[in-house]
């Protein structure tokens, strides 16, 4: 029972990291998308390089960079490991999300914008009334995949000694108790299962028309 509680406590952190990343990375990703699609070249080049770096390096490395670089290079040590984990996850996932958004936006045929224009809609109306919904429909499946990956990625926070569930489980294995490792798996399975169901439901809901 004590072990379960300790695992649960660990998983609570995973859930927090998951929730925080979702809440912050979804809008931040949109911001990055707008930057990378901006007509102002330096801005779009810069944000594409940024996305390339984030997607091209391991999240684990990014965790270490966020944890140590502020202290070593700028002399302002990271206040807490927890904060470092949040920052690294949010930046990492915002970059991935931004690419999904960009793919979604770019997949909308030009004819949709042109039809909107000749029908007298403003640029804002074209985006809100025509494009946005179609983009959402297209990005729900890849977002679902990415978000399920995020659930499992939260266990990476242990590499910077944030006490998340895997760490708790590992501690027990060191004491010779092996089953917490498997129960930990159950936590992740349950979480991913729930998310899969939710996303399937959402996809079904958006499936009332074929594009």
């Amino acid at each position: 029972m004590k072990i379960w509680l300790s695992l649960l406590e660990g998983f609570e952190f995973n859930l927090m990291l998951f929730g925080g990343t979702i809440v912050c990375a979804i809008p931040l990703g949109l911001l990055i998308t707008f930057c990378s699609m901006s007509k102002f070249k330096p801005l779009s080049v810069l944000s594409r390089i940024f996305v390339w770096i984030i997607r091209g390096t391991p999240l684990m490395l990014q965790l270490f960079v966020v944890l140590y670089v502020p202290g070593i290079v700028f002399g302002v040590p990271m206040k807490s490991r927890l904060l470092a984990a949040f920052i690294a996850f949010i930046i990492n996932y915002a970059a991935y999300f931004s690419e999904i958004y960009r793919g979604g936006i770019e997949s909308i045929p030009r004819g949709q914008y042109e039809a909107g224009q000749v029908l007298g809609l403003t640029k804002g109306q074209i985006f809100r009334k025509i494009v946005l919904f179609q983009v959402i429909k297209r990005i729900v499946p890849p977002m679902g995949n990415e978000i399920i990956t995020l659930v499992k990625d939260t266990s990476l926070a242990r590499t910077i000694a944030v006490s998340e569930i895997m760490m708790s489980a590992e501690n027990f294995s060191k004491q010779g108790i092996i089953w917490p490792l498997f129960s930990t798996g159950l936590f992740f399975l349950a979480m991913c299962g729930i998310l899969t169901l939710l996303f399937n439901k959402l996809e079904k809901k958006l499936d009332y028309y074929k594009a």
């Binding site: 039809a115 224009q117 000749v118 029908l119 007298g120 809609l121 594009a211």
Partner: protein, 259 residues
Amino acid sequence: MSILEVKDLYKSFGSTEVLKGINFSMQKGEIIAILGSSGSGKTTLLRCINFLERATGGQIFVDGECIFNADEKKKISAAEQRKRQLNFGLVFQSFNLFPQYSVLDNVTMPPKLLAKERSDYKTNKKQIFADIEENAKMLLERVGLSEKLSNYPCELSGGQQQRVSIARALALDPKILFFDEPTSALDPELTNEILKVIKDLALKNTTMVIVTHEIEFARNVADRIIFMNEGVVLEDGTPEQVIDNPRNERTRSFLAKML
């Protein structure tokens, strides 16, 4: 006065000149069919008139008022630009319906958004929307789709989709309705239902410019035929003049291929 006058319109994409000085004008109620071989610039001309491309030279007038002047560098306000846009309606080759909206919503959405700019919008919204919906239903009935109001575009045949897009364009009551090969994405059996709708519009004196490859249809429905070749107007006259007695060798060889 002409309802539309196109003066010396030029359009280049990079170094390729596609329109090389197009001139024509039309009267209210007139129906013009534009013929011409592939690549002659018909689509580009329609897109320039409808502000989907910016012409590199020339002017466009509606009812004598200049709505486009390539030499004028002054930025036009978005609101003014939209007002000019709404002189015209455009029916695309590929329909471009909005897939997430029902047939009825496709037709009512643009006028409802436009109504927001009316001064009595706030006080009279219910009535305005009711009128818009009634008008949309009337138009959809006219194109034979009153049974399909709540269907989505993906549930319709190509011909039905194109008829929705015609109703959608009509709902904004444009002064001139342009068609860019409205039937070329359709099976031959579906072509006729579109041509019938256009003929019906012709009977109601709708001012139209129709780019088409259907020579017989053009002869039947158009008051005037413009034949374009390599970015210029080669012939401009009645169907008898252009189709039966073309002055130009190019026109003759084009017609020979088509008929």
